[in-house]
Symmetry: C2
Subunit: 366 residues, 2 copies
């Protein structure tokens, strides 16, 4: 089967039901399980969402893969990050050798890992976990020019789509998304401000660890970046506007994530969203195909202040709030056991009838 086709025609899936009917069926099943109704809280809502996203009364979450997109950013020449650009390539090596947080957590939680080089500023040796899809050795410095050309943007979006569909075709019904790219919170901040209408100050933060002076400097540089293109307002068509902003400010990994998240939703697999930059990509994917955001599972709220701002704007409360600010898909990996837990109790718990447990509240009073 190909997930790029009509996903609901897959032979092992239940026939299509309308979303509302499906929600009611899932709730009815949850309410027959041996627990007070609603007593598993957010995890009951999560099961409903997983069923709706997959269009199936029996969601599959055991086979999952983290797609970790990596790229460099021209703007990192301007001192907007606490770490030098070379760290992007070094960390890709660390992912592949198994020494990074994403490596450790994907092993622990039985989650596949695929690292996609869409623009790392280094020549990388072949590796079984590495997909070589380099568009260029980093984006252009957006202080002086658009980060990428129209052709590069289309290439990044297509790489993202193809990578997600291939992962789904390998049998994964949950895709975790992560990113690595020194300087990419600068791109994400500009994109969030551009798409949400929020002030840039609300969207800029310390990233991997700038101090107060560093954040002020980063904000000043990003104001300059934005000023450069202020004379040419984005097109009024939302898709054209999204493309224009991605071209000006995007990273290759962010654009690839936009494509990957959109394709995952279209194929009715579950996109498990990580932190700030991946959430910005999900927001943009929703502009390109309205409805995508409602089909994303948000794993955690990061310590980057703009992430909480973004989540509030879209009305999402993520599963975890642990003050993480690492990226790499680490928050998504930590939330994966919650997805599996929710489906496990939904599928495996006894019903009141099966277990001979009284489900009727007693008459009130002695």
């Amino acid at each position: 089967m190909s997930a790029s086709g009509m996903p609901l025609a897959e032979p092992d899936m239940t026939p299509l039901e309308t979303e509302e009917t499906l929600r009611r069926s899932v709730r009815a099943r949850l309410d027959r399980l041996t627990k007070p109704q609603g007593s598993l809280g957010r995890l009951e809502d999560l099961v409903v969402e997983l069923c709706v996203i997959q269009g199936d009364l029996h969601p599959q979450v055991s086979q999952a893969e983290l797609l970790l997109f990596a790229a460099d950013h021209g703007i990192s020449d301007e001192g907007v990050s606490a770490f030098p650009r070379v760290v992007t390539a070094q960390m890709v090596g660390n992912f592949l050798r198994g020494g990074a947080a994403a490596s450790v957590l994907s092993r622990l939680h039985g989650c596949g890992l695929r690292v996609i080089d869409v623009g790392v500023d280094a020549d990388l040796d072949p590796h079984p976990l590495l997909q070589q899809s380099k568009i260029a050795r980093g984006t252009a410095n957006m202080l002086h020019a658009d980060a990428m050309s129209t052709a590069q943007l289309q290439q990044a979006l297509q790489i993202g789509r193809d990578t997600a569909i291939e992962a789904i075709d390998r049998g994964n019904r949950v895709l975790l998304f992560g990113e690595m790219g020194i300087g990419n919170t600068s791109a994400s901040s500009l994109l969030l401000a551009g798409f949400s209408g929020s002030s840039l100050a609300e969207c800029v933060g310390p990233g991997t660890g700038l101090d107060t002076a560093g954040v002020a400097r980063k904000l000043a540089i990003l104001e300059q970046v934005r000023g450069r293109s202020a004379a040419s307002p984005p097109p009024s068509d939302p898709v054209a506007a999204a493309h224009a902003m991605l071209q000006r400010w995007g990273g290759f990994e962010i654009a690839a994530l936009v494509g990957a998240i959109g394709a995952t939703v279209a194929a009715r697999a579950v996109p498990l969203i990580d932190g700030f930059s991946v959430s910005v990509a999900a927001l943009i994917a929703d502009r390109l195909a309205p409805g995508v955001l409602r089909r994303c599972v948000f794993s955690h709220c990061s310590a980057e202040p703009a992430h909480a701002h973004l989540l509030r704007r879209i009305g999402v409360e993520p599963l975890l709030s642990l003050g993480l600010r690492l990226g790499e898909g680490s928050g998504a990996l930590l939330a994966l056991p919650l997805l599996r837990s929710s489906v496990a109790f939904y599928e495996q718990m006894a019903s009141f009838d099966d277990a001979g447990v009284s489900d009727r509240p007693k008459e009130d009073g002695p």
Copy 2:
């Protein structure tokens, strides 16, 4: 080895370091790992706590067991719960047959399960997962008499201690605690009010699912219960006072949990605390042996409003907040993967030196 002896003399543990030295060593190790310092947020603090609790630079969290204490409550005759008393025994059967949330989640997360009958109002058949330690077929109705005698209280505390030590002797270095007992939020509410000085209204909630009128009725009954013993104020000695309150209002499962949590801390294993009633037991264990609370890991904040109240009072922010109100150790089981994740990255991530990753922030500026 026996965990009931001097736990730090165990041969496989590092020599005792003072707590502060240990904390510094753990932080130093964390800061050498290939991630921005502090970027794993709460999970970094969690690793430090696990090391301190176990008194070891290399905490063991792979082998864990849920101790699920079950008992009935005389007060359930007064209509304080949404479910009838018979559900306690029915749910014990469900735990043992594998159909309850606790069963499903313990299987999924590779956690042992032991159900301890300390006072279920039914004759239970033997089962490999069931420990038969029945003290009586439920407590007395505390509206008319003390819930338990002095001898029964001592017996419950001792069962808890012995059960925890046996579980640790089986090789478990993390013990999860859960409870089952129709009516036990009534006991927990009275105990929390008694120990914290909070008003009873702040400590009473819907439990498994009372409506507003049901909660009002429950509160009125618990006010009567408290009124019964108002004439005899508790002793001024904190241990005697704790014993007196447990005897008046406690459940057998709550008293057993008090003993078990205290013994777990003394044996330097990790007590992973579940919801409202287990948290109340931890609070009481801390009165019996000050310092216990600082050595507990709180898994989640439940939907029972008094749980958030209790956690605020003791200044704890738990790992998860998912609106659970099931008990059974379900929240502790959901948090177990976070403990294992934190130890996994701490033990398995590469250091900056090992991985050849630049750990020095670059000179600021272009």
